[in-house]
Amino acid sequence: MTDARADIFANIRRSLGVTGNEATRRMEVADRVARAPRGVIPQRGQVADEARVALFRAQAEAVQATTVAVDSVADVPAAVANYLRDHNLPATIRMGGDLRLTAMPWGDTALELKHGPSDGNDLNAVSHSLCAIAETGTLVMTAGPDNPTTLNFLPDNHIVIVNARDLVGDMEEAWSKVRIAYGKGEMPRVVNFITGPSRSADIGQTMLLGAHGPRSLHVIVVKG
């Protein structure tokens, strides 16, 4: 039997009428991959500072996330505790090893902390996002020990911290942040773009929240 890979490449090249050795085609492809040009960027996200924070929060809330803004990282643990209390949730949270999270004054609250990935038995998780996109109210999470992927999906309630200075206008700007953090062409194992809590419209064509992922998504924006 001939090689499937070779056959498929031969078919593609025959159909396109090319050999694969054309220098101009190769250059075009190498150039596009290297430059990664941006296309049409919607105006909506192109606002700065306070307006960007406001847009992000409005967009996230439009897709049933809840948001709150706090003045500094020192205020985050209390904001988490308040959220859990207001929703009658147990005062337990799980988080990864992100230093931005672990350095917060959790001791000022009565919260019980667990660390590491989730085995499915956690009600509440806290993660720190790499950045967030104002255009669509989207959180950008990167996998690794700092913020394990399972925390994004298994717990019922997901609380995500984002710094106001990490808010970007659009997805293209988010990719710039990923490239600064990881290097061009290098990727974290997973980048999760999260826009609101989990939902499904597969029963009776009605949108219902809490399908397989978190039933609630709460975003704490740190201004300072």
Partner: protein
Amino acid sequence: MTAHATSPQFKANATRALADPNLQAALLKMRTGFIDRRAAAVDRLPEFDALRDSARDIKNHTLAHLDLYLEEYERNVRAAGGQVHFARDAEEARRIVLDLCRRYDAKTAAKGKSMISEEIGLNQAMEAAGVAPVETDLGEYIIQLRNEPPSHIIAPAVHINPEQVEADFRRVHTHLDPARDLHEPTQLLTEARQVLRRKYFEADIGITGANFLIAETGSSVIVTNEGNGDLSQTLPKAHIVLASIEKLVPTLEDASQILRVLARSATGQEMSVYTTVSTGPRRQSDPDGPGAYHVVLLDNGRSAMLGTQFQDMLRCIRCGACMNHCPVYHAVGGHAYGWVYPGPMGAVLTPSLIGVDKGGQLPNASTFCGRCESVCPMKIPLPKMMRHWREREFERHLTPAAVRYGLGLWSFFARRPALYRLATRAAMGTLSLAGRARGRFRWLPLAGGWTKYRDFPAPQGDTFQARWRKERGGRA
């Protein structure tokens, strides 16, 4: 062999569909829902049309350089520790997946939604090999319980109502209290969530599709609302991505452009809830994620579409907008098309993928009203390509005589007034029962040319014909 096709029996399928009151009620509901939500989302983004052009140009460029982007993609998957397997056809793809199942000693597989899995008939092959496939997308789970194919590419169970789901759950979830309350859709959702939670943890491998493959980084992208694809790929030992070769785009930026038109066209959302970009298996420092990452790249007739008048079809991002706006789909639903891909995109793609002898009827299932092309985010000239198929079919003399003399499936409906009456009556009854009558239809399945220019008054209560008979009968 790909998944079994009943496309040659389109007319018989359509007849059954028209007489199915549950289906007709579901189709009436989806018609307004999908269309209104898409229109609202498009209105909110002034750059939508410019993004459509951008998306079309990206795909055209990629297809013209597909061999080179595939090489780049493959290189980068390997660099990230993943493996790429090429499959010329459905059988080869199934064999690769089954070999991987054996390699990981898999008893069960958690599956995210994948049209390629449907195309290659993977579930049947896995079952035959003793591996239990568990569909985790709620719609796919429901149709798996019912042993049915999907009827829509993004809403596979759109033809099923909550009462039917309740009956299926009671039939299959026998470990749960038979007296439990399931009359609310949220209760059904909660039950599915609990049942499937266990399955993710039991699964040895996770299988997902891919909305995009990114050459620059060797990444695969899935887009979901439920989070099921993410759990399917994160928890098991190995992640297998099923994708066809035209899913490629050059860069992350290019995927971002197309993502902006995808969710809006599909569900009217600005972004789906979860857009996940995956690159290779779990790394040394990772506390979670799959230990292995495989991509099965399927051709199955696509490379032969390049360079032909059907190349444009390879831009399709499977958003479903063409079927959501299609009067023929609205009349008969997805199953009538008889294979994996329904609606206008299916009418063009099916003959390309399974042959004109099996799929050649479908390009006739059109009123040529042009709505599909006008909403397609990738600006695919669907009616033109359906016409190409009709011409080819004519030349091959595969066409039934009626079609050769200028009558199509359109006339099949028009020539059966009794059938049409039955279908509309069933639909009206449900409409007024549900209290959703909006007074007017913006178009009717079988009179596209006419209602394109004027609204058709929706009968209040009975159909006109039924009322006429009743009133005359009362007087007599």
